[in-house]
């Protein structure tokens, strides 16, 4: 099939996207459930007890996936918002708007589970070190993005203004990521890196990676679901939506 006959941007239009997303969401949801059960089984029952922290470390199977997703989803929000701003693609802006609440939830989960972890191990619920502070800033950036969007009446103008805000804030994500390297922080450094073997037991790593997959599929399922709803709202004048809603 010649490459030039493929419509690469088929799913950049709301109606095909609506159909595709509708078909994919059940698979993502079921996948998230399966991976989540497998990950928690390995993490809570099979992975060995940590030498230093005992069993308190097991919250890592929620905390780390949530933290990774919080940063990754912000990058996605900024990316799709930029696409929507540059190419005037309204579906891209809708996708950015749909991803943001899930990202904010992940950030909150990361902060909350981090506090639950910190109390028994560090002795404190919170400390104002670089990583925790920058993750808190990330939560505020998500709230700012959603607030700005909600406060502007015209949807397209809201999309574009919020896109500028998301892009200005994207500098925070590398700061969070490298904060443990650049500053002396209480939060531990990177255990998993691209250049050397992970400094954790293989069952722990497996459990964590399964949970990351689960959180990823969950985020996909909820964001796509939210985006479908948004498409119906924004395109309510279109004939296919009128048919769909009936």
């Amino acid at each position: 099939m010649p490459l030039r006959n493929i419509n690469w941007f088929k799913y950049a239009a709301p109606q095909p996207f609506y159909g595709l997303a509708g078909k994919l969401i059940p698979w993502f949801a079921v996948g998230a459930l399966i991976l989540g059960v497998a990950g928690l089984y390995i993490g809570l029952l099979i992975a060995p007890t940590d030498a230093q922290q005992g069993d308190a470390y097991r919250i890592i199977f929620i905390h780390v996936p949530a933290a990774w997703m919080s940063m990754f989803i912000y990058l996605l929000v900024a990316f799709w918002a930029a696409i929507g701003l540059i190419f005037n693609a309204r579906l891209a802006s809708m996708l950015a708007l749909s991803l943001a609440p899930t990202g904010a939830l992940m950030t909150f989960i990361a902060l909350f589970t981090g506090a639950l972890w910190g109390k028994p191990t560090w002795g404190t619920w919170w400390v104002w070190d670089a990583r925790l502070t920058s993750e808190l800033i990330l939560l505020f950036l998500y709230f700012g993005f959603l607030s700005l969007h909600a406060s502007i009446d015209d949807p397209r103008r809201a999309d574009r203004s919020a896109a500028v805000l998301a892009l200005v804030g994207v500098i925070n994500v590398p700061i969070i990521y490298f904060s443990v390297k650049w500053w002396n922080t209480l939060h531990q450094g990177a255990t998993i890196s691209m250049t050397k073997a992970p400094a954790m037991a293989s069952q722990m790593l497996l459990g964590m990676l399964l949970m990351v997959g689960s959180f990823w599929l969950y985020s996909l399922a909820t964001s796509l679901y939210r985006c479908r709803t948004l498409v119906l709202e924004r395109e309510e004048h279109a004939a296919w939506v009128v048919e769909e809603i009936q």
């Binding site: 505020f140 950036l141 700012g144 607030s147 700005l148 203004s161 500028v164 805000l165």
Partner: protein, 228 residues
């Protein structure tokens, strides 16, 4: 070469216009200063008058008060011009919009941030800060308040004409200014702890240069989105 000179004169004219408008309605910038003084006085009333405690938290409190005062003053950056149509003329003129916005940011800093830095020196007396500490506080504010004007203008442009007013602007801009607060207030704390302050000033300088370059571009883009 003459084109660059024309740009400079155009920007100077814009700064002069904004400053003369501020001087005509001195109430706005004076209100900002008084707000700064009132908030800075609220802290000792809230945490207690113990001199040692006040000396420790002085730099942070004054920085936060300056930050909040700057947030309140940002509303009038574009709002008045938007109301009477001057902003539309500015967008239609041949001066590049980022430079026009930079001129407005400079005028805003001259009428708010600069005054806040001097006022902070006076208020630092209330907190028993030593001479050297006050000097470092003044310098850090002098470097930090332009960043408030630069980054705050992005928020002012984004929230132009929206419901939510000053609170929304503060919600958007304060997270972006947290690093400035950390390094600025931290400079005085470092000096009081006997540690070198150069690093804090280098980082403040880096943040200033970054925002000097990028903030006018972002604010100009936000203005175009908000106006059309």
């Amino acid at each position: 070469m003459s084109n660059i000179w024309k740009l400079f004169t155009a920007m100077a004219a814009l700064i002069k216009r904004d400053l003369s408008l501020v001087l005509r309605r001195k109430n706005d910038s004076l209100a900002t200063l008084f707000f700064f003084a009132v908030v800075a006085s609220l802290f000792p009333l809230g945490v207690g008058p113990e001199p040692k405690l006040l000396q420790q938290i002085a730099s942070g409190m004054l920085w936060i008060a300056a930050l909040l005062a700057a947030m309140l003053s940002l509303n009038r950056l574009f709002a008045d011009d938007y109301q009477d149509g001057t902003l539309d003329l500015l967008l239609l003129s041949t001066i590049p919009l980022p430079l026009a916005v930079l001129a407005k940011m400079i005028a805003h800093w001259l009428s708010s941030g600069l005054l806040l830095s001097f006022a902070a020196v006076l208020l630092a007396l209330q907190f028993n800060l030593s001479g050297e500490s006050v000097w470092i506080l003044f310098l850090s504010l002098l470097l930090g308040t332009p960043i408030f004007s630069l980054v705050g203008a992005i928020g002012a442009a984004l929230t132009l004409g929206t419901r939510g007013g000053g609170v929304l602007l503060s919600l958007l801009v304060l997270p972006l200014l947290i690093p400035v607060l950390i390094f600025g207030a931290g400079a005085v704390d470092a000096y009081q702890a006997g540690m070198p302050v150069a690093g804090h000033f280098y980082l403040l300088g880096a943040l200033f240069v970054l925002s000097l370059f990028f903030a006018p571009l972002a604010a100009a883009l936000s203005l175009r989105i908000a106006i059309e």
